[in-house]
């Protein structure tokens, strides 16, 4: 994936909505992870945990509702999948060898030439 296509005209609104919701979802995921981490670390009181949990649950429900209303559930899933792929590719590239080295498929040795 090299570009995020939000479409044009009629599609543009859906495309933009998909993009915005996707980004918000990723943010919420990060918030949830952080909330779990804090709950684990024992720095939150039971009441705080309950409040944090119900707030996040509400946000998640709102987002789900919004996706259903807009009919963009699949679009958001696809975009997240694409972004995952993008990140994996980037990590693989960081890890070392360039994915393809173009080399000729032949070897000639001996004799004249070169």
């Amino acid at each position: 994936m090299t570009a995020i296509d939000v479409g044009d005209g009629e599609d543009a609104r859906d495309g933009l909505m998909t993009l915005v919701i996707t980004v918000v979802e990723i943010l919420i995921d990060a918030l949830e992870r952080e909330a779990v981490r804090r709950m684990e670390s024992g720095t939150l009181s039971d009441a705080e945990i309950e409040r944090l949990g119900s707030q996040l649950a509400t946000i998640e429900a709102e987002i789900d509702q919004l996706k259903a209303d807009e009919g963009i559930e699949d679009g958001v899933d696809d975009l997240r999948g694409d972004l995952d792929g993008l990140v994996s590719d980037a990590i693989e590239q960081l890890h070392g060898e360039p994915p393809t080295v173009q080399q000729p498929g032949y070897s000639v040795f001996g004799g004249e030439g070169e």
Binding site: V36, P104, S107, F109, G110
Partner: protein, 313 residues
């Protein structure tokens, strides 16, 4: 060509790969008036013969010098084509000839597709003579050894319940969720999901690490390959192979093992395959494409050979 370049190079062979030079020439193919297209090297007697046809129906002969035979055919140009089907046919033929040579003479040292030595039979003999020490060692080291490829595929992901059963923390979380208020339960469920994903990944890792360790005990060498095969011609040719999307590949390995150890390796793989939802795909014996040493000239830039491992299904 192949991206499975986990090749092992011989320790003290002098190596000259004319990468840059060859890359520059890619658009303009080197001219060859008389040449010998090389398939593989085998241990052979002076009167050895191999009856088969090679690439483009060329008659294959075996040029023997001092106990080492080069399986070859006469050629006058590089095999190059924009037609993918044509290249596939060539590759398959190349591989077939190497296989047949292996059946007739024991483990071959395969050459990469399109490896050509300029000159006639005499030039091949001269090269065999010059390199005899290296070549004899390579052949002797590989004798009786073959390459085997293993892919472990999770055709059916393990059930959540099965993972919970094996993990006390998941059970504890599950209990807490039941007792908790709504908001807390929400966070606990998130934690449960995270833990589940971790356990799933850990299970895969321990399965593959365990397999590698057990295989390493039987095989001479084990290499880990990328989990998804790179697009290569050979994969397309063997269309029933692991490229299909019917599961997640946990690991792909290639190993060099003695033919006598094949049964032991088979039983290790049977153990893995006995796990629910796992499938083991095993191919071989192949000529030791991945494990063949790189053979090079003796510093003479014009006498460089590469035998990168060929694409293998």
């Amino acid at each position: 060509m192949s991206h499975d370049r986990t090749d092992e190079r011989g320790s003290d062979e002098h190596l000259e790969v004319l990468d840059d030079q060859l890359a520059d020439e890619h658009t303009e193919l080197p001219a060859i008036e008389t040449g010998r297209y090389l398939y593989c090297l085998v241990q052979a007697d002076a009167d050895a013969a191999l009856e088969t046809t090679g690439i483009d129906g060329e008659p294959v002969s075996i040029i023997v010098e001092d106990g080492i035979g080069a399986v070859a055919h006469d050629c006058d140009g590089i095999y190059d084509s924009a037609n993918l089907a044509q290249i596939r046919r060539w590759l398959v033929r190349h591989q077939t000839v190497v296989d047949e040579a292996g059946q007739a003479f024991g483990t071959p040292v395969p050459f990469q597709f399109d490896t050509i030595l300029r000159g006639g039979d005499a030039a091949v003999r001269e090269w065999l003579r010059e390199e005899s020490a290296t070549l004899e060692r390579a052949l002797a080291e590989l004798a009786g050894h073959w390459e085997y490829r293993v892919a472990v595929v999770e055709v059916e992901p393990i059930d959540d319940e099965a993972l919970v059963e094996r993990d006390e923390r998941l059970q504890a979380l599950d209990d807490r969720i039941g007792d908790a208020e709504e908001g807390t339960a929400f966070l606990l469920e998130k934690q449960f999901d995270q833990r589940l994903a971790e356990r799933r990944a850990a299970r895969r890792e321990s399965l593959t690490a365990d397999l590698e360790e057990r295989l390493a005990a039987e095989a001479r060498e084990v290499h880990t390959l990328e989990r998804s095969p790179s697009a290569s011609l050979a994969d397309d040719v063997a269309s029933d192979d692991s490229g299909s999307n019917d599961g997640e590949t946990l690991c792909r390995l290639t190993l060099l093992a003695h033919e006598d150890d094949e049964d032991a390796i088979g039983s290790i793989l049977d153990d893995v395959a006995a796990n629910d939802g796992l499938e083991v795909r095993f191919t071989g014996p192949w000529p030791p494409y991945t494990f063949a040493p790189e053979l090079g000239g003796d510093g003479d830039k014009n006498a460089a050979a590469t035998d990168r491992p060929n694409s293998q299904p």
